[in-house]
Amino acid sequence: MSSPCRVRAERLLALLLAAAVLAGCEREKRHIGPSGPEAAPVIQTTPFVPGGAQPLPKDPRAEFYENNAFEVAQGARLFRWYNCSGCHSNGGGGMGPALIDDQWIYGSEIEQIYGTIQQGRPNGMPSFRDKATEEQIWQLAAYVRSLAGKNSQVASSRSDAMAGIPPRNQASPADAGKETPPKRLR
């Protein structure tokens, strides 16, 4: 009944599906156990330094937290637990600045957000240095960036609150990969 061409197409489709499923394995890989060796955090709020513009130094831990859906989801839980919404609302801002846009007073890199949470900032942002573990601050920073669509490939498929990007399973293919989505959920 089926032509050889159709069989080939079906095989190709199965292979592609398997590849897509396998590629998803790493997305939510869970790191369970005590935190790994901690490197000294590299925090710089601005590239404006004497001696001309320099690239911001990258923290070796940033990538792990940023590209992992589980860590981002843990950050979402901590955002609720630590009452970040008391000032930032669910990302839309209130007493504190909004987090769902991509304009950041103290820098938009994850290392800079880590620094903002850990050290506190003038006019109200408290320091969480001893109040949250380093791992938790990284998770929060990764989640806060996902609010602005900065690491949307690991954003949760089901948003419990207002977010800057549509949930992944509702986003149109045209939105994929865009850092700033055209449409905002209210």
Partner: protein, 315 residues
């Protein structure tokens, strides 16, 4: 400590066991009948094979009677089971007199237990332990903070799910004093297995004495090491999630620790309580209960010793 639905210690579990027994005997009786008729048919056919080909009976009055009787037996059996099940369900749903109101909230992976009985200043909060006065019905309100859990103390009652956004209710009327184990009965993540409840049924006087002790705020530390431990608790991440009545720590993300040292288990039954277990749990929770939401907080040796001494004094 007992965890068995076959040794009931409350009215509800006794009713369920009665229903279970009835179902067992009705089904066992039918099973024996089916097997007996099957064996008889096989034996009869073998005996008949030696004789001449038997005449095919289009109408066999004996067979007709037997089939009719069989149908009646099935209908009666099903009616008995359905009626018994209906009556049991109705009895389980009937609340008793003067119920003790308890709210149980399931969280990954522990139980928040709030005694919401009487005026609000008499309310008591604890975690992973339930004490029930003997003979007094308890009305248990079940809620969940994250995913679906299921509340199950086999000796006392059947399972009831805890569903986010919904409140379920169940009644327990304990009739036998003792210690029982409860367990989450709906897979809820990494540490579903370590989500146990320590249940004690005791005479009402003992229960009221326990409640009076739980009502008291934590005593202020007397010796300098414990006072330092309290400072550590406030200054570090502990106070971000735990509450201790009588201090500034008031967060409700994790279990209330006001009387943590009076409990028999730590981390929802993962460890029996001891000072050493407490120290180990604080030092590395991820090793003892991988995936738990309790983080390992970096503390110096002095800070850790003081913190453990402080918490161990919260009787």
């Amino acid at each position: 400590m007992s965890q068995s639905a076959l040794h009931p210690a409350a009215d509800q579990a006794t009713r369920l066991l009665g229903l279970w027994d009835l179902m067992l005997w009705v089904c066992a009786g039918m099973y024996v009948l089916v097997i007996a008729f099957l064996a008889w048919a096989i034996w009869r056919r073998r005996r008949a094979a030696y004789l001449i080909e038997p005449e095919v009976m289009v109408s066999d009055p004996g067979l007709e009677r037997a089939l009719g009787g069989w149908a009646v037996l099935i209908v009666v059996g099903l009616i008995v089971l359905t009626t018994a099940s209906f009556l049991t369900d109705r009895a389980l749903a009937t609340p008793g007199e003067r119920p003790l109101k308890i709210k149980v909230t399931g969280q990954q992976w522990w139980w928040r237990v709030e005694y919401q009985d009487g005026p609000v200043e008499r309310w008591v909060e604890t975690a992973n332990e339930i004490r029930l006065p003997l003979g007094r019905p308890a009305e248990i309100e079940l809620a969940s903070d994250d995913v679906i859990h299921s509340f199950w103390i086999p000796n006392l009652a059947g399972k009831t799910d805890l569903i986010p956004g919904r409140t379920n209710r169940m009644a327990i009327t304990p009739r036998r004093a003792g210690r029982f184990r409860g367990q989450c009965a709906e897979f809820c993540g990494f540490q579903h297995a370590h989500m146990a409840l320590d249940v004690t049924v005791e005479p009402e006087a003992a229960f009221e004495a326990w409640r009076a002790r739980q009502l008291a705020p934590a005593a202020a530390p007397a010796d300098p090491q414990r006072a330092y431990g309290q400072q550590v608790f406030q200054a570090k991440a502990c106070a971000m999630c735990h509450a201790i009545a009588g201090t500034q720590a008031g967060s409700r993300n994790g279990p209330d620790l006001t009387h943590v040292a009076s409990r028999r288990t730590l981390a929802a039954g993962a460890l029996p309580y001891s000072k050493g277990a407490l120290a180990g749990w604080i030092a590395n929770p991820q090793a003892l209960k991988p995936g738990t939401n309790m983080p390992a907080v970096r503390l110096s040796a002095d800070e850790q010793a003081a913190l453990v001494a402080y918490l161990d004094g919260l009787k």
